[in-house]
């Protein structure tokens, strides 16, 4: 009895969760916050170096803040810009978790967007309840299949997914341009590569038109939120996510535990592509209304940064995506108000990633933000 009681006490003690460690807090909160702050400061330094006077610099940062969170319109623009970043970022984050560096979000967005556009203008007379989900599904499937090509080649031959997805990006650019000139897709009467417009029954309804006709926020935001919750469940509450994470942390241990690495690679890539494809569909059905050459606009590459900054955690991806959306929306305002090029935003975004990727630099710059002493190690 007493021994049983002892075991029971021990079992209960083992089930207690330790309080989050200071080191986790530093890694998850302090480093990203400092990275953003330093990037903004260095952005100012970059402006100074290019002969922008202090007053203009001040004005541009005010514009940045105003343009991103200063009004209903600003918030609408921020979220509109953030939605595809978060969707594609989730796809990239899934890959990171499984140890795969999926650079191909850009191409997957293009393929997903194209499929959604084609379905979006091809079927006349369908009710919205059928047409819109069909167009979204087309985007998801196209993105998934396109990414699965890279996954399959990786699993079958061992070719590296970074090379594969970069090459698939290259192919997708040209493929989209080619498709946009096909008679079935090109808008009648146009000679430049641009598609017919998506029918109203396939458009993602705008949410705030009753407040003002220019508010572009559309219902894609709900898709995005659902996707975030789904990815969270998938990664941390499902057996598939357990396999993904195990393969990502230690492919060998996962294989020894009986997990099928080839299948996991294809599945992860396809799922990541599905989210990127949804991001593409979200853009063409919710914002652009049609496809044109290079309509992905670098979202797929920003998604890499969003996934990195978000620490490959779905909730982190939301925060990072909102930040990048805010920088983009605010950057446009900055260009209008202060005449500073929007390229500066690109610099700031890159600096943030640089500092995230090099936490030791942040530690060195802000020693007082971190607990003293080198990381402990045994023997």
């Amino acid at each position: 009895m007493s021994e049983q009681g002892e075991t029971a006490t021990l079992t209960a003690r083992l089930l207690e969760r330790a309080a989050p460690k200071r080191a986790d807090f530093e890694d998850l909160v302090i480093v990203p916050v400092f990275a953003v702050v330093v990037a903004l400061i260095l952005g100012g330094v970059a402006m100074l170096a290019t002969n922008v006077d202090l007053e203009t610099i001040g004005r541009s940062y005010v514009a940045l803040a105003y343009g991103s969170i200063g009004s209903i319109n600003a918030l609408s623009e921020t979220i509109t810009a953030a939605t595809p970043l978060i969707l594609a970022g989730l796809g990239v984050a899934l890959g990171f978790r499984a140890g795969l560096f999926n650079i191909g979000a850009e191409g997957q967005i293009l393929m997903g967007g194209m499929a959604a556009v084609v379905v979006g203008f091809s079927f006349t007379g369908l009710p919205m309840l059928v047409h819109l989900p069909l167009a979204l599904l087309a985007g998801i499937v196209a993105g998934a299949l396109y990414a699965a090509i890279a996954g399959w080649i990786r699993a079958a031959t061992g070719a590296h997914e970074v090379i594969l997805t970069i090459m698939l990006n290259m192919i997708s650019y040209r493929l989209v341009d080619y498709m946009l000139r096909m008679p079935a897709i090109q808008r009648p009467g146009r000679s430049d590569p641009i598609s017919s417009s998506v029918l109203p029954t396939a458009e993602l309804p705008r949410l705030l038109e009753w407040l003002g006709p220019n508010l572009r926020l559309h219902s894609g935001v709900f898709l995005m939120l659902a996707a975030v919750l789904f990815v969270y469940w998938l990664l941390f509450r499902s057996t598939i996510g357990f396999e993904f994470r195990a393969s990502g942390e230690s492919p060998e241990a996962a294989r020894f535990a009986g997990m099928r690495s080839g299948l996991i690679i294809v599945l992860v890539m396809a799922l990541g592509g599905a989210f990127a494809g949804l991001a593409g569909a979200n853009q063409v059905l919710g914002v652009l209304g049609r496809a044109s050459s290079g309509f992905s606009a670098g979202i797929g590459f920003d998604a890499l940064a969003v996934a990195l900054l978000g620490r490959s955690h779905p909730f982190g991806v939301v925060i990072a995506g909102l930040l990048f959306g805010a920088l983009e929306a605010g950057g446009r305002q900055m260009q209008v108000d202060a005449g500073v090029s929007i390229d500066l935003i690109g610099i700031i975004q890159s600096l943030i990633i640089l500092f995230i990727a090099a936490p030791l630099v942040v530690r060195a710059l802000f020693p007082w933000g971190f607990r003293k002493g080198a990381p402990a190690s045994k023997e």
């Binding site: 057996t239 020894f256 009986g258 990381p375």
Partner: protein, 503 residues
Amino acid sequence: MEIELRGITKRFGEVVANSDVNLTIRAGEVLGLLGENGAGKSTLMNVLSGLYRPDGGEILIDGKPVQFRGPGDAIRAGIGMVHQHFMLVPVFTVAENVVLGVEPTGPVDFLDLKKARAQVREINETYGLEVDPDEYIENLPVGVQQRVEIIKVLFRSANAIIFDEPTAVLTPQEVTEFFAIVKSLRSAGKAIVFITHKLHEILEVADRISVLREGRIVGEGVPGKTTDLELAEMMVGRPVSFKVDKTPFSPGPVLLDVQHLTVLRENDAVAVNDLTLNVRAGEIVGIAGVQGNGQSELVEALAGVRRVAGGSVMFQGKDITGASARDRHRLGMAHIPEDRQRTGIIAAFTVAENMVLDTYYDSRFSRGLAMDWQAVNQNSAAAAAAFDVRTPSIFEKAGHLSGGNQQKLVVARELNRDTKLLIASQPTRGLDVGSIEYIHKRIVDAREEGDGILIVSSELDEIMSLCDRILVMFKGRIVAEFGAAGRPANKNDIGLAMAGVAA
């Protein structure tokens, strides 16, 4: 030469690796430094060899305090270290390796290899090392490579030589030769520190013994006066039993039947060559052999993580030659992989997650695609308690556990279900006495329950104390069988078979 460590303290963050350690090393004497893994032996010797700077205490050489700013200082002071993992360039010759970093040069910075060879020969003769200076390292057996490391240290005119777990990679015969070398170094007046966790070795070769536990010197001993049990107790901090209690051998039906198995390495070289063996219910079969003779490939093929090139594997009368790891697992085969860090656990996963690494899909732990974390956690906590996995909580990262506890975690995962056959590769490698004792007990428990057990180990003592039947593997084949039907187990005979000497 006399080296004295006085009150050495070394901390890493909050972890105290060495606390107020006093130690004297004298010329012409072998000091045995005994301790479990994590006791602080390596840290202490890294302090002495200049890799770490102590946080407290001092080092005196011949009574004069010295300060080492790096390994270079220690080498100049005459302290040399032979590491557990050799630091040799495989495509260089012995002489080239020996002079690397301190090359004798002729005029115009010309590398004087002739002189290097002569110097290596001289050291050879002085200490009876017998190493060909012109042979390439990659062509030498491990035992000879170790001698090259010793020559390297002597070439840098070391008077004190530290050996860090020197016998871990050697065959029994090589160990005997190694001890002869140690003795000749001692008679040449060198001061020697011999670090190990193997009791019988230290009793054989040391003049004095110091025992380190939790960073402190907890006791001293003299071979001949102190017994291995006393030393083990000092090391672990509680009485230890070396004897493995087993019920009499009464094997059941054949569980695993391997016929003419051939397995290839990555480079298509034959690793397992037309090998035939079987394991019965209720018996422990041991495979002895020097590492690299195909044991790893054999185990991986049996566990379903390496492709079989020829032959067949039957389990309970069922052909599983091409079955997946998962299928074998479902049939009741358990596998303790040889490299726990790489293939046994996932360091970044929690103890709980590691506990279900190969059972997460089971109906106990998931419904459809949804994991039942509540059940996983409950089960993991119970298993951790039952198998003595010492961790603050099951939510701790497995990588933060000590090696012994990581291994107990693997054992818990593999045995904490209904198994019929256990395949264990190096189940206690690098573990401390306490953990070894525990894991052996668990393996014997599994045997008593009627499981068949196949153990691969390079520790002959382990094989001899645990197994009912011993097979010796050499160059991919079983070359000898001892115990049960075969010849009675005898350490010398097994050692000879391991070295490929036909008996």
